[in-house]
Symmetry: C2
Amino acid sequence: MSKGPAKAKRGIPSKVDNFNEWYPFIVEASDLVDKRYPIKGMDVWRPYGWKTMRLIDSLTHSEMDRTEHEEVNFPLLIPENLLEKENALVARLKRAREEGVNPDDLRDDEEEGGFKKEVYWVKHAGENELDIPMFLRPTSETAMYTMFPLWIRSHKDLPLKIYQMVNTFRYETKQTRSFIRVREIHFFEAHTAHADEQSATDQITQDLQIVDNLMEQLCLPIIKAKRPVWDTFPGAWYTIGIDAIMPNGRTLQVASCHHYRDQWAKAFDITYEDKNAKQQFVHQTTYGMSERLLGAVVGMHGDDNGLIMPPAIAPYQIVICPMIRKNAEVDTVAESHRIAELLRKSGLRVKVDSRDIHAGQKYYDWEIKGVPLRLDIGPRDMAQGTVFAALRTGGKEPLATDNIVELCQNKLSDVAKELRRRSMEHITNVVVPLPKLSNNDGVWSLDGQIVDGKIYEIAFAGSDADAEVIERHTGLTFLGEATEAYESEKSCHMTRKMTKRRVILAKTY
Amino acid sequence: MSKGPAKAKRGIPSKVDNFNEWYPFIVEASDLVDKRYPIKGMDVWRPYGWKTMRLIDSLTHSEMDRTEHEEVNFPLLIPENLLEKENALVARLKRAREEGVNPDDLRDDEEEGGFKKEVYWVKHAGENELDIPMFLRPTSETAMYTMFPLWIRSHKDLPLKIYQMVNTFRYETKQTRSFIRVREIHFFEAHTAHADEQSATDQITQDLQIVDNLMEQLCLPIIKAKRPVWDTFPGAWYTIGIDAIMPNGRTLQVASCHHYRDQWAKAFDITYEDKNAKQQFVHQTTYGMSERLLGAVVGMHGDDNGLIMPPAIAPYQIVICPMIRKNAEVDTVAESHRIAELLRKSGLRVKVDSRDIHAGQKYYDWEIKGVPLRLDIGPRDMAQGTVFAALRTGGKEPLATDNIVELCQNKLSDVAKELRRRSMEHITNVVVPLPKLSNNDGVWSLDGQIVDGKIYEIAFAGSDADAEVIERHTGLTFLGEATEAYESEKSCHMTRKMTKRRVILAKTY
């Protein structure tokens, strides 16, 4: 292995006291990425980071197989005129929303949407200026929906369910942060087309189930919330955001699902012949995720000794460290490799670290990389027919070599359970009721403090104007209405109407 | 599955008579790609094509694991100044070669190399013009070698062996052709750094072994040849090109290995401290392959009924077609699924096609996609305890259901063997000795015809000037000196000196 950036051996910043220094330190010190590439916001994925990301991807691939999505790969470059088509659609939908009218009654706006400001442009190739400028995809709606009319002709072609994992680009002007806010993004996007609105709605339900399956494996605490209208993706009918809760109480959107109804179909003329030989517009959805999933794993699970990898995505689930003693009567290295082979045969990812260095240095190296389970093998352990196991989440005990595979599987399962328990505890601690807002003679005041590190929930059945009042007086952002509602009706924070609607407010990344 | 481009049901052009029409027809008709994306030379990978490419990639991943290369992922964009560094190096090496001097004695040239003419430029982002223009990687030498000095410090960091599979870009002005000449390229590149020249040379030997392993699986006929000096990659000491022989006798470079010696290390200041605490430049190699591998598979193995997929990369190795008879006493569909599950448990990729359509249509669909083995199951077969097997390379016979897994594995192995046999036969037929060149009073003449569809070999120990005479009088390109030399010495085609050197000449893609 090549060297990582120079690192202070025990100089890891405190995560609890200083998350904003801990995070950038740890992503480099654990060899996930190297930030010294000469373009800001574009990191080099080092082998350890890329292996982890590919393991996350393979969980996604499995879910896509299970749900019969097919993988495609679209070109990176998109001609400018397709962006203009998208801009016109978005501007029209926005105007319809503002004016409270049916978007179909409006014509495409000439005004430019916001996307032009967020993309990288290719206007030159070789020594030529291109006739038609192209841009690097930020996502692939326009590229894909140009092809959909060629692929969809009849109801027999529906549903169409495709996805891709590709690099996307965003001209980010805010401060960048590895995995969380970058300019080249490792991206997953699923796009589906359906015969009607209900089938598209069912797809969103399936997407949210996939999210739950993935989050179970990543052991992440999340909130799924239907975004308020003003925070819906401009081309969407509605958006469900999936937010991970970071240790500092800020939320990080790691995935989102959009129901497009037939809005894009109308803009891109995507129709099919139904069973009665009538042309109909398709209804569409998208589901996106990105390398932010890894950012959430790093941020949520790590501690002051480094990363803690959920076993499902750990490049090495188990590291075996033989104690190297000169003139020892038993060969701990050979024993380590024998056990490693046993474990590998059961599908576990195992590394033997037989470097002849101080044990403390080895422990440090694998702790910072977050390997869930370490097995130490010394001559005394061998004599007793055991290995000594240390869980990255805490706890040490000897394991009988005779039954090593099953015991290790149990210990890995224990690590995952402990990470999930911490996540649940984190949510329970962090999400609290919002202090009351009182109105005295038209002046609003908050009956309490908004505390850093907390996320707030309210029963809410109010208007957009009510929401604006809350955002202004709390400095918080409406994440939206959680898919998990209250079990019984409560009084709305603003209107006092009874409702089960549970709205989440937070400071966001 | 969504619809592909409209296709004439039996309108496949003849491969032998008209390869140039057959190839573009078949890549779309078999659903590998869709060429109707609005940018020329950038195809959409459809699910069937992308699955095949990913299976080729997974063979490569296995070889990389076996040889302890680690996967990384570098940014797509590269700042302009790095290209200038490369250009200066390349220009200096070229001048040194022309002047016959040591490149270390020359200073970097100011003149521009050729790379600027081949890349796409990003000079704008959002509404801004960028301070430093960037380009889309054509390959990643400059991006990677900027980081190598940060990663390599001591001899303990060597060898450094990394690879990535990424999209690369070339501003192609010639006519494009799916997989073979495209503007966005699905690319593999391995980069290594070593302590000395010999270790780098050993790496090239390993690379060529990897090539052999992959070609065995893809069943492709290839020639490995050390390129002549004038066709060596400009930054390399020497280049070994790996050329697939297409059915029309033209060669297609599908891979290449470059020995860089310490030339790039000197340009990018990549040094290490050796065991005597002395700073030394590293020696480097690269090994590249691309989606051209799939182009060669399509071109070499296909026939007038469509693709023929080598079993190692067939998305479906076996398709099972139950005969659907109304009111039949036995359930052929259930039996098909039962057999499919048996086969899948042994790791085979199997599809059951239970569509209620004419059997001929099913056969056509799976033949054009090149599925190596088809199993038909009818009521009579079931009564006899057999299935009826049809090999895509020809031949039909009943297989006993009792022993179906082993029998299918054998049949797939037979298909691969037959493809390899055809490949060997193709090389034997196509590669012929070059007609003699006679010199009468300083005028050269060729004692024979250069025939379309043939590749020529000669014993050669001549000079660059001799080579130029041959190229001019034959219209052929020197592929270079084959790694497989003659077994015994022969007389050089030009100088009559005795040599084992076997040089290959061909028309190339």
